[in-house]
Subunit: 245 residues, 2 copies
Amino acid sequence: MPRFFIAASNIFGGTAYLSAQDVEHMRVLRIRRGEIFTVCDSNGTDYTCRINENDPTGTTVQIISSAPSAGEPSVRCTVYAAFSKGDKMDTVVQKCVELGAYDIVAFPSARCVSRPDGGALLKKLNRWQRIAEEAAKQSGRGIISKVSSANSFAEAVNRASSADIPLFLYENEHQNGLRQAISDGTAHTVSVMTGPEGGFDDDEAAFAISAGMRPVSLGTRILRCETAPVAALAAVMCLTGNLGG
Amino acid sequence: MPRFFIAASNIFGGTAYLSAQDVEHMRVLRIRRGEIFTVCDSNGTDYTCRINENDPTGTTVQIISSAPSAGEPSVRCTVYAAFSKGDKMDTVVQKCVELGAYDIVAFPSARCVSRPDGGALLKKLNRWQRIAEEAAKQSGRGIISKVSSANSFAEAVNRASSADIPLFLYENEHQNGLRQAISDGTAHTVSVMTGPEGGFDDDEAAFAISAGMRPVSLGTRILRCETAPVAALAAVMCLTGNLGG
């Protein structure tokens, strides 16, 4: 079923108010009067809607029913991924939104080759946010994951460490696994922090651990920097019952 | 540490015999006399080696020690992925090899848009096998996952259903999850079978189930055809203790 995200403030009195862009999108999708489609308030609620017969502009649509978005996981997992070369972050954003990431934060790390800032960063963030929106529509999410950046590794750690379960994926960690970390407690919020090509350096690991992050291993195979966040998120979703029970 | 895969038959008498291509590769990597590197027999054993001082050709290397490849998971999981458009299978092959897939099998399915055969398929299989080899080296695998194709959906199902735990990822399955399926028994071999864009059709699902495949859900979000096998494999590896304990 076609899916549109609109601001919650544009839904009231049994009616959803679409933007001109959404109306154009509906025209492209050839949605006709009488057909039903989903409008999501970007806040976890889905509205089943029908084009309002009495509105020739097509901007107001009639709400038939509403329900919590089925696509939202029970756990809020934010993915912190170090800046990477080329279009790898495009892949990370797309896959992590599909898999249910709440937010995605890109950050600089000691071994990052790419460190966009200023206008270049803004352009990248806009691009990633568009990818997140497309992935949210395609996968049936109830929110559009926000993509942002941290100015420094320390800032990223400070944000990540506030989660109930703050996971620091570290290749030199050989004792603790992700399964144990997740099973240790009730997770409302989880952070998954992954490094750049070449991994985190020891000082970064020491800082993250001192700030309360839990170092965990993703196993003996060396995962590419764009594979690690996707694999870790899939594992978190699986272990918390959000990847098909 | 640099890593080379050679045939097990080229390792005997405390010596590993490299191909001219490997020697050239060592030259490119600037591996000098005295330096150590890893030679893997492509069969799950790693050999720590040093260039043989007495061989000016560089084709024979001295074995210092051997050990089971740390990168091999305890479970043999074969990924069956339906043919997909463009270069999506490239991504599937690369990520699944990193995550520890034993084999990867591409197969035709009712809703596949792409159905390569003859020379086109051979070219694709060669390409995927090269990607698998690169990924095996990069991630530290003990084997190079074999990439092959099945001639029909039925053939793919027949091969997949012989695993201890044969999983059929089906979007219309809403009861059974992957966690339960994996926890049900000891898994030496697992199959993970995922569909094309648009998913499996009902007849295919009925056939797969009648052949003994276990239909499982990957949750309420609709995953892209190239995301599903990667997420499912990450989950299988996590649940069997092969993604960092």
